[in-house]
């Protein structure tokens, strides 16, 4: 796939406000003020959940959009972090639960996720296209069954329950508002990092490798190392999302990291769009809203059909997702604004 990344035409005269862009500022203000209008449910179950899945989609976007590697194992990576939190921290399933404080458990969980991601990348890096999808799907499925049938470490089908988000600075981070801001903060950080990273030397090299690995190899670049490093970075983002996910649910079980969830992440990235890091977040909002409210619109028997139809329509109207849709509508809007008023 050829994905055009807008060239950065940063001139020295630009101040930081212009560099940030009006869109980003409006979006940031809106997201920071969102708790003023939203109910607790919309804050966590829609807002927080969308941000978490947006981060998972972002880690996939990093790999697929810049590196050309479509992974179905991002939820697996997040699951490794989530299980690590359950095992290293406290849980009430009376299995393991080593009782580490959060500031020790979280870095360990994210590190484990990043290393696991790098390992998955290292295994799949020699494959391309559909073969990468297949090998990562195989890893995701194998991990799912391993977790489901291993009782000593993963507690089987029941998984771990009773996991609490930490309380520090006298704030309970699982309360709706703090949890939303926690998700927002980490999501914004990941988003900014990916945006910055895509314009860095490494990001440019990665995109060049995506477009023509043979030429890059001939130029003397270590293609495999660059790709595996991209997996490691994607693993950090997915790992952070996994930590948030386990705090959000208060529990983790094989259902969390099943093939359904893996495909959800892919759907989120695809319908959001892979051209820009904002795409996965847009996709996550649409998917979470659909999954939550479709049952109210068409009843219990047919709601999955409705969800599928909406996704089909989005992909049919715009093959590059909601972002592409925006790209198509924008010129028309601009045209309209040029017309004289009524």
């Amino acid at each position: 796939m050829s994905l055009a990344i807008p060239a950065t035409s940063a001139t020295p005269q630009q101040n930081w406000l212009e560099k940030l862009g009006a869109g980003h500022i409006i979006l940031a203000v809106a997201l920071v003020l969102y708790p003023l209008v939203a109910s607790d449910f919309f804050l966590t179950q829609i807002g927080g959940y969308s941000l978490i899945f947006g981060m998972l989609g972002l880690s996939l976007m990093l790999l697929a959009g810049y590196g050309g590697m479509v992974s179905l194992a991002q939820i697996t990576v997040a699951g490794i972090a989530a299980y690590a939190i359950a095992i290293l921290g406290n849980n009430n399933s009376s299995i393991l639960g080593l009782g580490w404080p959060w500031w020790l458990a979280v870095p360990f969980a994210v590190l484990a996720a990043a290393l696991a991601s790098a390992l998955i990348g290292w295994i799949s890096v020699r494959t391309e296209g559909i073969y990468t999808i297949m090998i990562t799907l195989a890893i995701a499925t194998a991990t799912f069954y391993f977790a489901q049938q291993n009782y000593a470490i993963f507690n089987g089908h029941s998984g771990y329950a009773g996991i609490r988000a930490p309380v520090f600075w006298s704030v309970n981070w699982r309360d709706p508002r703090p949890f939303y801001y926690l998700c927002l903060g980490l999501a914004a950080l990941s988003y900014a990092a990916v945006l910055y990273g895509s314009r860095s030397t490494f990001g440019m090299t990665l995109q060049a490798i995506r477009d023509n690995p043979r030429r890059m190899r001939a130029l003397g670049y270590h293609v495999t190392a660059h790709k595996v490093f991209a997996w490691l970075l994607a693993g950090v983002i997915a790992g952070l999302a996994g930590v948030l996910l386990v705090w959000f649910n208060g529990r983790v079980s094989p259902g969390t990291i099943g093939v359904d969830a893996a495909i959800d992440v892919l759907i989120i990235a695809v319908i959001g769009g892979l051209r820009h890091p904002i795409g996965p977040f847009l996709g996550a909002v649409v998917v979470v809203l659909m999954q939550t409210f479709a049952i109210d619109i068409v009843g219990a028997e047919r709601f999955n059909t409705l969800i599928g139809m909406v996704f089909l329509v989005i992909v049919f109207v715009s093959p590059d997702g909601i972002l592409g849709l925006w790209g198509r509508i924008k010129p028309h809007l601009a045209q309209e604004s040029l017309r004289p008023g009524p």
């Binding site: 109910s39 489901q148 089908h157 259902g255 049952i295 219990a300």
Partner: protein, 415 residues
């Protein structure tokens, strides 16, 4: 004009965000959440559970204490995560103060844990039947008027050993808390009577290929105890029959349920004569049961006879409505009065009297059954014997019962 459109859009978005607080305004309706599995391998079971719950609602003509009943549905896919997510949506977004559900074992344990964080909401079980939902570390606001999976097995172990003469039985069951509870209930009696269980196979939910499981069953067993649900049971039984398996079967409650018996194929010959036990029996002659079957059949897509999911959801929904009726539909005190009423509630169901113990778990009659072919060619569970008023400790004194330990894959054991 353009401004107007934008203002309207902004208004619409704003209304959407604040809708939950407005939705609580209506005072002449009572909202009840209904949580069942409408996705995944247990979909058929969840749909029949819904029919059962709706039968109870229809029986009250859709009103309770002069208020209209509004059912808000939530769906899970039988995984605990999805059950909690759906419960959260019903409680925190739709604002239900009473929730009926969920359907399956681990879901029940997860929803019980969630119930502890919502002390002002009353949770009434659907058909979830894991022992630990109510026996260990129960939630004050979680009630189960349907019995648990070990209770459902009352009488079966003794019957298999004494009447059928099976001395050695292998078990095949799904790998989560409900089948553990069923195997526990069966083995508690069977081992006590002198039987042996040389091999236990645990298979993941949604398994398609059972060949390795079938190959691992020892040759010299007298029978195979099968506790699989929905599509899993059909897949296993079909493959066992095609593989030339001949050992007689003993059924877990949901293995010989209407959700499996009505499936098409060559299962009939395999299943005929299979003894089982559970909260219902299709050929029950009691007038109350017959009246229930007729009322149930009015629901769209109903089976020839209600499955135990329809029965369980019916009983729990009925208890909910009776409780609400007693308090005049008033849950404005955080449901305290309702929970008091529910804990004391004792009523006659289509399958006999139901009351609660101190953990808010049901004490009820259990039916020993055998699969037979009905007059119209449908398979039915013929009533063999009623075991009256089984409690959660299966008649064993509580301290002695707790010493048997928590239900899991290795407990109990009598190789």
């Amino acid at each position: 004009m353009r401004m107007h459109r934008r203002t309207l859009l902004a208004l619409a978005v704003f209304t959407g965000l604040t809708a939950p607080s407005m939705a609580l305004a209506a005072d002449d309706t009572i909202k009840i959440g209904l949580l069942a599995t409408f996705e995944g391998p247990f979909t058929v079971l969840g749909e029949d559970g819904e029919r059962g719950a709706m039968t109870a609602v229809a029986e009250m003509n859709g009103t309770v204490a002069g208020k209209k009943i509004e059912i808000v549905k939530g769906s899970s896919d039988a995984s605990p995560d999805s059950a909690v997510r759906a419960a959260r949506k019903l409680v925190e977004q739709d604002g239900v103060k009473v929730l009926v559900g969920p359907l399956s074992g681990d879901e029940g344990i997860a929803v019980k844990d969630y119930a502890k964080t919502q002390p002002n909401v009353t949770f009434i079980n659907g058909t979830s039947a894991a022992q630990d939902t109510t026996l260990r570390d129960p939630a004050e606001n979680f009630f189960r008027f349907s019995t648990d999976g070990a209770q459902w097995m009352a009488g079966l172990g003794t019957y298999a050993f004494k009447d059928k003469g099976y001395k050695k039985v292998a078990t095949v069951a799904e790998d989560y808390s409900f089948p553990y509870t069923q195997v526990f209930g069966f083995m508690a009696e069977f081992c006590k009577a002198g039987g042996h269980v040389p091999s236990k196979s645990w298979v993941p939910i949604g398994n398609k290929d059972f060949s390795s499981v079938i190959a691992a069953i020892p040759e010299d067993v007298d029978a195979i105890y099968v506790a699989l649900g929905g599509a899993d049971a059909v897949n296993f039984l079909t493959q066992y029959q095609q593989g030339g398996g001949t050992a007689p079967l003993i059924g877990g409650s949901i293995t010989v349920d209407q959700t499996v018996l009505t499936s098409k194929g060559k299962l009939k010959e395999v299943l005929k004569g299979t003894p089982s036990a559970g909260p219902t029996a299709d050929t029950n002659d009691a007038p109350a049961w017959k009246a229930f079957v007729e009322a149930y059949k009015k629901q769209p897509g109903a089976f020839p006879s209600p499955s135990l999911f329809a029965h369980g959801y019916y009983v729990d929904m009925k208890a909910t409505l009776l409780g609400l009726d007693q308090v005049g539909g008033d849950v404005s005190d955080g449901g305290k009065k309702l929970r008091d009423a529910l804990s004391k509630l004792s009523f006659d169901t289509p399958t006999g009297k139901v009351s609660l113990d101190k953990n808010r778990n049901a004490i009820a009659d259990i039916f020993l059954t055998e699969v037979t072919e009905g007059a119209d060619g449908n398979l039915l569970n013929k009533l063999v014997k009623v075991v009256p008023q089984v409690n959660q400790t299966l008649g064993i004194p509580e301290d002695e019962f707790m010493k048997l330990g928590a239900v899991n894959r290795d407990n109990p054991s009598c190789p």
